[in-house]
């Protein structure tokens, strides 16, 4: 990882200076650093270290590329709260190219991208949204007459780091669903060998984008990734592991019909097709829209949107998983429920037998 942009001593404004000049108090700033530490699953003691890092570094330049996408991750970025999109886009980062939000159009817009690639080689961060079609020479997605694959190769090869936001950029997502007519792939498959941080999700929870960037600014390196390129701080556990409805799963309490008593009481959605047991993501912990809600919390199961090939692998969305892995001997909810009932029953029976035995003993003693 190069030192370039973030260790520049040329006297430019640091992130903290910018924030301060824009009216953020020291207290606000430290609150932000603490929230970042929390999102990154770091102990609170790391907050001062994040603060220190942000106080010393210039705003890193970011280019955000969109290909086969719906701008859903851009929309998610607009909902960022810690920091807010305002702070993120204007104060913390220098987002020089972003098709949806930039003021420039046409030649002027393309010039912004060309200038970054030419003048800041090895110093900028590339964020990619949307999949990249490889079939037929890339004709299925062209920007300004250039194929997406040519753009992404040029821009990412000169970047300090590449982050793929959303499931499409990470793994191809919906455009790559069978029969994948355009040969859509994610960034890692489009440029084999390139180190990419994958932040899948439909859309990604925006705190995971900001936390990845702050991790980078703070430690000067990318966060630890799993074999699919996902940061462990956000994708290290299954939805099921941290689910707020987990107790109902363990108790064998399942929603059987939309709007039934169990549904209204927040029981487990496994029987309604929830893919939480097979999906790795921190949704239960950070949720969406500043913690307002998330699919399972709202009453709809997880559709596994953060997993590779989710559209093909997770559908039908409302059929329950036949064999969720990682449940030991208990393979289905019925068996888990039945198993629990059996264990409980056995315990009661055993208890009864014990009493009989004890009673018998007592009787014997009495005899």
């Amino acid at each position: 990882m190069g030192r370039g942009a973030f260790h520049d001593d040329s006297g430019g404004e640091t992130v903290y200076e910018t924030l301060r000049n824009r009216g953020l108090t020291r207290r606000d700033f430290l609150t932000f650093c603490t929230m970042m530490a929390a999102t990154l699953a770091l102990p609170a003691s790391f907050a001062p270290r994040i603060a220190e890092a942000l106080e010393k570094k210039k705003k890193p330049t970011v280019v955000w590329l969109e290909f086969q996408d719906c701008a859903g991750n851009t929309e998610a970025l607009l909902r960022a709260s810690a920091p807010t999109v305002k702070e993120l886009v204007l104060d913390i980062l220098n987002v020089e190219y972003h098709e949806t939000i930039m003021a420039a159009a046409g030649h002027q817009a393309e010039k912004s991208l060309e200038d970054v690639v030419k003048n800041l080689k090895g110093q900028y961060i590339t964020i990619v949204e949307g999949s990249i079609p490889l079939k037929d020479g890339g004709v299925y997605c062209c920007v300004g007459g250039r194929a997406a694959i040519d753009i992404v190769k040029e821009v990412c090869s000169g970047a300090l780091a590449t982050i793929a936001v959303g499931t499409c950029a990470a793994y191809g997502g919906i455009p790559a669903a069978a029969p994948n007519p355009t040969g859509a792939v994610g960034v890692s498959d489009a440029i084999p060998g390139l180190k990419v941080v994958n932040l899948p999700g439909c859309p990604v929870n925006v705190e995971n984008i900001t936390a990845t960037i702050v991790h980078f600014l703070t430690f000067g390196s990318l966060p630890s990734l799993d074999k699919l390129g996902r940061p462990l701080f956000a994708y290290g556990k299954r939805i099921h592991d941290n689910c707020e409805r987990r107790a109902h799963f363990d108790a064998g309490q399942f929603v059987r019909q939309w709007g039934d008593e169990g549904h209204r009481q927040g029981w487990c959605l496994y029987e309604m097709g929830c893919k939480g047991p097979e999906t790795f993501k921190n949704c239960p912990r950070i949720k969406y829209n500043e913690g307002t809600s998330w699919p399972v919390g709202a009453g709809h199961g997880c559709i596994g949107c953060a997993e590779p090939a989710f559209w093909d692998k997770m559908a039908p969305f409302y059929r329950r998983l036949p064999q969720p892995p990682g449940f030991g001997v208990e393979k289905t909810a019925d068996k888990v429920g039945a198993g629990l009932a059996a264990v409980t029953g056995a315990a009661i029976v055993a208890h009864g037998i014990g009493r009989v035995i004890a009673g018998g003993k007592k009787e014997k003693t009495e005899e």
Binding site: G12, E13, T18, N21, R22, T61, G72, E75, A76, L78, R79, A80, S81, T84, V85, N94, V95, E96, H98, E99, T100, I101, M102, A103, A104, A105, G106, H107, Q108, A109, E110, K111, G138, V139, Y140, C142, V143, G144, G145, R146, A147, D150, C202, P203, Q257, W258, G259, H263, R264, Q265, Y288, N289, T292, S293, W294, P295, G297, A298, G299, H300
Partner: protein
């Protein structure tokens, strides 16, 4: 979802109808405000000019158009200083290479400063008010609680895991915040900006035909025509007559699109018989031009009764206005009176941008109404959110077909489905940006974007901001390219609009 409900004859419960109205309603309000301030305003507002503003005069101007609380001299002084620091840092991010200083910018520095302040305020506001959708839809963007037959978000005032009185209170607070910003910031800014750009009522009319499927169901019948914003068609800018919509008259051409039809590309097909066989015949990238005499677009060309149609807020507001919708008429007439212009100006770039504001206000006013309907149902013990009669595919007929109408913020959205043996046999979507961004059809008729650009003056061909104004006024969902060429057909400049 509505197409499948229509195909299978499913009637949804009233709570599902209300929840869907609320999700769509807050999406209109939030999306239109983002469009105005963050995707369209910079076509009219010169942020660099705002640096020349006098904070005292800015405060006076702001207070003359609205009683919004952020309007003191000190407030605008602060915004100006922040802007100055930002611009002087040399790292101006998304504002890099904008057309700043272009002579087509007409606002005085003080109005530009107000717009910059509200650009920033709107960023915070939108994040908050959209939580209505996050609560009802599980998240935003990409609401995930829609089900065929209803919604997956339970209603029960006696449960902490369902929509209850607390949820109603939470959403009511946000709805109030949403309306206040629209009334006190968006509408006054829209009127102030428009008053400097009245000449834009002369440009950007487009095809002059308007299609609205209508939106905000007032009963639970499939594809009901009992809608708060009515369904209808206006032809040739004639507001004296509103024609009914017959979905059978909707067809799509691929004459100039990179697809092929089995019985010839010059014959249009109804979406139930729609075919999406792609066949790219354009140049190999990288390329500079597309030949518009041949196929040149990935969009099909939707037509109604063989005519191109504009869809979106302008179409919805014109259909409502001409249908006698009282509140829409009141607000449209108020806007026209404020600008001292007649209804003929509605058929323009300016009219399109103003109609979006009118719709935002009228929709924001309905949010509390729907919240009250939901609360009333809760009160009488109606907690139903889903009709499960057809949930199991074994209950379906062997064959079925249906269609569903919706109005996305940017316009009429229709889905058509054919179901056979429990599976989708054909599914076709005709989306707003294919109507508006449509390429030419077999008869050579242009779509709304193309037609709207005819006659637009361009002051500086190197910086054709005028083209951005008209194309952005449609709220396109995609990037498109417009090439500015001189009389000999040489390319002067190529702009990509996003």
């Amino acid at each position: 979802m509505r197409a499948v409900e229509n195909a299978l004859g499913i009637t949804i419960p009233d709570n599902a109808r209300i929840i869907r109205n609320l999700i769509t309603g807050i999406q209109y309000v939030q999306d239109h405000v983002i469009h105005f301030y963050h995707l369209h305003a910079l076509d009219w507002v010169d942020i660099v000019s705002a640096l020349k503003a006098d904070p005292k005069k800015t405060s006076e101007l702001a207070q003359s158009i609205s009683d919004w609380h952020n309007s003191s001299e000190a407030y605008f002084k602060g915004v100006k200083e922040k802007l100055k620091t930002f611009v002087e840092s040399g790292q101006i991010g998304p504002f890099t290479n904008g057309y700043w200083g272009h002579k087509a910018y007409k606002l005085p520095p003080e109005a530009n400063l107000i717009a910059v302040a509200h650009y920033l305020e709107a960023l915070d506001w939108q994040r908050d008010v959209i939580k209505i959708q996050a609560l009802l839809g599980a998240k935003n963007p990409h609401a995930q609680t829609y089900l065929v037959g209803g919604m997956a978000v339970p209603v029960d005032p006696n449960s902490e895991n369902a929509l209850n009185a607390g949820s109603i209170a939470f959403m009511s607070g946000l709805a109030k915040k949403a309306l206040e910003f629209v009334e006190k910031v968006y509408i006054p800014d829209l009127l102030a900006v428009a008053s400097f750009y009245k000449e834009w009522a002369k440009y950007g009319a487009g095809v002059g035909n308007y299609l609205a499927y209508g939106v905000f169901e007032q009963d639970t019948k499939s594809n009901t025509d009992n809608l708060y914003f009515p369904r209808g068609i206006i032809l040739n800018k004639d507001l004296s007559k509103v024609y009914p919509v017959d979905h059978k008259k909707i067809t799509e051409y691929v004459t100039h699109s990179w697809y092929e039809y089995p019985d010839g590309d010059d014959k249009a097909r109804h979406p139930w018989d729609g075919v999406t066989n792609y066949k790219y015949t354009g140049p190999k990238p990288p390329y500079k031009f597309l030949d518009t005499d041949k196929k040149y677009s990935w969009l099909k060309a939707p037509r109604y009764d063989d005519k191109p149609m504009e869809v979106g807020p302008l179409a919805r507001m014109l259909v409502a206005y001409a249908s006698g919708h009282k509140r829409v008429q009141e607000v449209v007439n108020f806007v026209l009176k404020k600008l001292n212009v007649g209804p003929e100006v509605l058929f323009s770039t300016l009219g399109r941008t103003a109609a979006r504001g009118v719709e935002t206000l009228v929709t924001a006013e309905m949010l509390p109404v729907w919240l009250n309907e939901l609360a009333a149902n809760m009160k009488k013990g109606d907690y139903r959110i889903h009709n499960s009669e057809r949930w199991d595919p074994s209950t379906w007929p062997r064959e079925a077909q249906g269609y569903g109408f919706h109005e996305a913020p940017r316009g009429a959205l229709g889905h058509w489905v054919k179901i056979k043996d429990g599976k989708i046999e054909n599914y076709q979507c005709v989306v707003p940006s294919t109507w508006n961004g449509s390429p030419r059809d077999a008869k050579g008729q242009r779509g709304p974007y193309e037609a709207a650009l005819i006659g637009t003056p361009v002051a500086d061909p190197e910086k054709p901001i005028e083209i951005l104004r008209t194309i952005h006024s449609f709220d396109p969902c995609m990037a498109c390219a417009v090439h500015v060429t001189d009389a000999e057909g040489r390319e002067v400049v190529r702009i990509k609009i996003v």
